[in-house]
Amino acid sequence: MALELKSSDNKIFEVEELVAVQSETIKSLVEDGCADNVIPLPNVDSKTLELVLDWCKNHVDMKLDEEKLKEYEDKFIEVDQAVLYDLLLAANYLNIKDLLNRACQKVADMLKGKTPEQIRETLNIVNDFSPEEEEEIRKENLWAFEE
């Protein structure tokens, strides 16, 4: 059985039900009988949706081969930040647990082992604390900031 999904930029994707129901969101729609027409996904653009559907398809195909699946997942998640955040939001919206966790893990890896300054640099975070505020936060958890 095939389902039709429409991205935010009005591109239609035809997918097998088995692949699409990896998304808990879509799965509930199917179970509630609301998936007969095209399912609009206004929070996901076509580029991201294509990637997401590729993930879902491979998870169905390689279900029994753990090693191969892990290789695929590691390769899949090697994307630049912008794409990663799009994937994260899409996985959250569509409720695809393994993709969500993998993407979160990838972002977490960008935070690991770095000083706050390095994290700000990598993620483009602007420090909006005054020097006094920053000093106070540092004192509150001094044990964490010693290197």
């Binding site: 509930s28 706050p116 509150e140 044990w143």
Partner: protein, 509 residues
Amino acid sequence: MYFPTSGGFLEKKRLSHFRRFQLIESEPTTPPSKAYCLNKGRMVCSAESTSKRQKPEEADRISNLPKSLLCRILSFLTTKEAVVTSILSSRWKTLWTLVPKLDFDYYELTTTSSSAEVQSHKRYNFNFAHIVSRVWALRGASHVQKFRLHWDHGVYDPVHMDTWVRATIARGVEDIDLHIDPNSNRSFYLPCSLFNCKTLIALKLSGNFEYDTPPSSSIVFPSLKILHLEFNFNSCDYLFTLPTLCPVLQDLSVKVHCWYADWHCKFISPTLKRLHLYMKFDELPYKLEIKAPALEYLNFGGHLDSILLEDLSNLVEVVIDIDVDLTKIDYYEHYGSRAWDFIGELCDIKSLHLSANTTEFLCNASEFDPPVFHNLSFLKVKGPCMLHVLPHLLQVTPNLAVLVVEKEERNFFSCEKGESFTCDMILYEEPLQQVVRKCLSSCLTTLHYEGFEGLKNELKLVKHFLKRAKVLKTMKISSYNLNSEEKLCVLKELLLFPRHSRSCQIVFS
């Protein structure tokens, strides 16, 4: 897992109908962030982003993610790493307090530099207990889903431990992982509330633990599905009764180091699916009876003695790693026979993994007569002795589809049989050859050879498989020691071998 949406408030997200989906988030104290609403299928933004000073392509996208997502990301970090994010910007200041995971590792929290600059900032010296207590105090009453504490060094204090464990139970914990120094003379008494905890799904205990046996009438560990125990002989008697108390246990791992001889234990679990046993018994005799009719996966390691397995109808995969001090075994050959007998009891399984140590024992067994493994479709054999044991195994696995052989480098190698021993057996010895030929021709689809060195007998074996295996789809060969020139040479030679199966792919890595 529950993720907080605002100010420590918990809200389980339900997505029942697509059109009623709302992801709303508001923060009264920090700068306004985007609120997303779904209104008849169209996304509507109601607030501006705060990073006006940055160019669009360098925007700080991560800070604009919903709080629940940021907390989920932080839950992949240790608590120390999460606390560090509090200084990134005002958006991040309190996020770490909302993360439902607490992860404290003694080494991570106490390895600090002692530079003069750092010393001058410190008014107090924080030890491990101070840090953990402080985190507890500052994070408020928010939910704890996972609690991991590794306190395997320093001055271990069971009173603190008791306080923290009780605190997590009070906050609805689902996953507890405790590790204390096994050599500490102070053991940890598990509180009763742990046994009655309705939310606990996974429990990992490693070190010196004790408990008072709960009354048989009470319902103990009502939701516990995963239990991993690692302990020494001090608490041996006690802890083996723990798994039997769990009514819905599915995954059990027991690693025990015991110095008592003639120890006898019985496990009964109607729900158990995965069992990992590691018996470090100093080669003393013991007797273990296991009744787990739902068991699907068994991993056995350590010293093999009397193990009685009742009702293995659902058992699919078995991994065996016999690990004993060879100087302590009286009859080496008898031990090997015992290993064959143990494997023989598992003749209905579909997948079997034998470690290098195991194959060495099997190789040196004085007598063995394994039954036929009708359902075995996956076999992995490791170690320098794997070629010696392989023909005996191939003889009793008529339906083998995937064969993985891994030649491990080993320092202590007690086998006298030569390298070429088994190849000749497979290739030329008559009754063996018939059975093996049948299996190879109709069933074998995949062969992985790891640790290939391009030796003459290895090439001979691979050539034989390629020639006979009619339905072979993939032959994957990986080598550790060959450089790229040697690899190319071997690959060329492999590609020249005649292949019975036309669709066979050779992969060399």
